[in-house]
């Protein structure tokens, strides 16, 4: 199942709607890497609200997405981690170091807004 990537202004939004296989995730990573460049996006939001299970491969892919996007000039925010998923993650020692996280899509957009604001102000 391929994950649709929505374009909203200079942002890309990918919403994970079900539990994904490793291939799905890898495809998402490749798609995002291409589209960030093609569409000259400045921000990427990955919404994982619908994900019941977040395993180490998912985390690594999300970290890869963030790093690749950064290299191509876009900031990444992961949004929609549910409380129980977050709890399970820290218990397993899985962390999302160096990536912004937000409660939901709205927060994610706000975080990206704050970022681009900072860039515009020369900060």
């Amino acid at each position: 199942m391929s994950i649709p990537i929505l374009k909203l202004g200079d942002r890309l939004i990918a919403s994970i709607q079900s539990t994904l296989t490793d291939e799905d995730l890898t495809r998402l990573k490749d798609d995002l890497a291409n589209q960030v460049g093609d569409l000259r996006s400045r921000g990427v939001i990955v919404d994982v609200t619908a994900a019941d299970v977040v395993d180490s491969f998912t985390i690594r892919t999300l970290l890869d997405i963030a790093q690749v996007s950064k290299l191509r000039g876009a900031d990444t925010v992961i949004v929609g981690l549910r409380p129980e998923v977050a709890f399970a993650m820290v218990q397993l020692g899985l962390r999302l170091d160096g990536v912004d996280t937000g409660l939901d899509l709205e927060e994610g957009l706000a975080i990206l807004d704050a970022r681009s604001h900072g860039v515009a102000n020369g900060r």
Binding site: V79, P83, A86, M89, V90, R95, L96, G102, L103, E107
Partner: protein, 310 residues
């Protein structure tokens, strides 16, 4: 609740041989013959009892008689008819009742002792031949021991359930998550943090962040008596989990002792945002959320008006 169900179901009627059953029937003939008399005499004997006295006096006459009649019927059914279950379930209710009323187990033994004594007098008179008397008394002991065991078990179960409920209540009460202002939560931690409590604390914190859409959380550990690697680890986990939901965390209330301990045992808390006291934690947190508190009427703000809008 599950504990009590499993344990009370294990109760059985006294294990009696057929000759013991006959002996118990002989006993019942004597007991039944002077049931009211024994009831009244034991009542008089217990009237001065510090625990049973007030109970007997407070109970209306009719209720007492009804209860006594009920026990008589149940006993008759059990000893004569061999149908013990109704009698046993009545004992279980009694045990739970005494636990709830706070009557001690010792005084319940005293009450049974009085009845045993009264019964003994009558049995001695009714069965002068020693062999018969010994058999009857042995059956009585078995019956009483069994009954006392059942009452004791339910008594303990009831108390244990009370303790469990209280533990649950303490746990619930001990990890409140408070809203200080829009997007700012306070989690005061008091007492000892064990794994179970840390789990519950983190869980409640995450639910609260989700519900209130909090951006900043202050975890105040002023009330945490001792810090060790485990507690520190739990704290780091709570902070990491909160960050995954997009909330930043400030840990406040690290006393001098706690700070020294952390350094001595070599726990790395550098990933945490720590502040000495709650006041500092809250004012840092408010700055992060974008509020600034100012004394009313203080017009000459040294930082100028712009500083207020952050």
């Amino acid at each position: 609740m599950a504990i009590s169900a499993a344990q009370t179901d294990g109760h059985h009627a006294p294990d009696l041989t057929s000759s013991e059953q006959d002996a118990l029937k002989d006993l019942w003939r004597v007991y039944d013959g002077s049931y009211e008399e024994i009831g009244e005499e034991s009542e008089r004997a217990l009237a001065a009892d510090p625990e049973f006295g007030p109970l007997i006096q407070s109970m209306p006459r009719e209720q007492m008689q009804a209860q006594s009649q009920r026990s008589r019927d149940l006993l008759s059914r059990a000893i004569v008819g061999g149908d013990w279950e109704p009698y046993l379930s009545d004992l279980r209710e009694q045990g739970a009742g005494y636990a709830q009323m706070g009557i001690s187990f010792t005084s319940w033994y005293r009450a049974v002792g009085v009845i045993r004594h009264l019964l003994m007098d009558r049995l001695t008179a009714a069965y002068p031949e020693p062999e018969r008397l010994v058999a009857v008394v042995a059956a009585m002991d078995k019956w009483f021991d069994n009954s006392m065991g059942i009452i004791g078990d339910t008594y303990l179960n009831t108390k244990e359930q009370t303790i469990l409920r209280q533990q649950e209540a303490i746990r619930e009460l001990s990890t409140p998550v408070l809203t200080l202002m829009d997007g700012l939560l306070l989690l005061p931690v008091v007492g000892v943090i064990d794994s179970h409590r840390a789990r519950q604390m983190t869980d409640q914190l995450l639910q609260a962040i989700h519900k209130h859409r909090a951006k900043v959380v202050v975890i105040d550990i002023t009330g945490v008596a001792a810090m060790d690697t485990m507690v520190a680890n739990h704290l780091v986990q709570a902070v990491d989990a909160a960050r995954l939901l997009g909330a930043s965390t400030i840990v406040s209330g690290l006393s001098a002792d706690v700070a020294q301990t952390v350094v001595r045992i070599g726990v790395d808390l550098s990933r945490l945002n720590t502040v000495g006291d709650l006041q500092g934690g809250v004012s840092d947190a408010m700055r992060l959320v974008g509020f600034q508190v100012q004394r009313v009427g203080q017009h000459n703000d040294p930082d100028g008006p712009e500083a207020r809008i952050s």
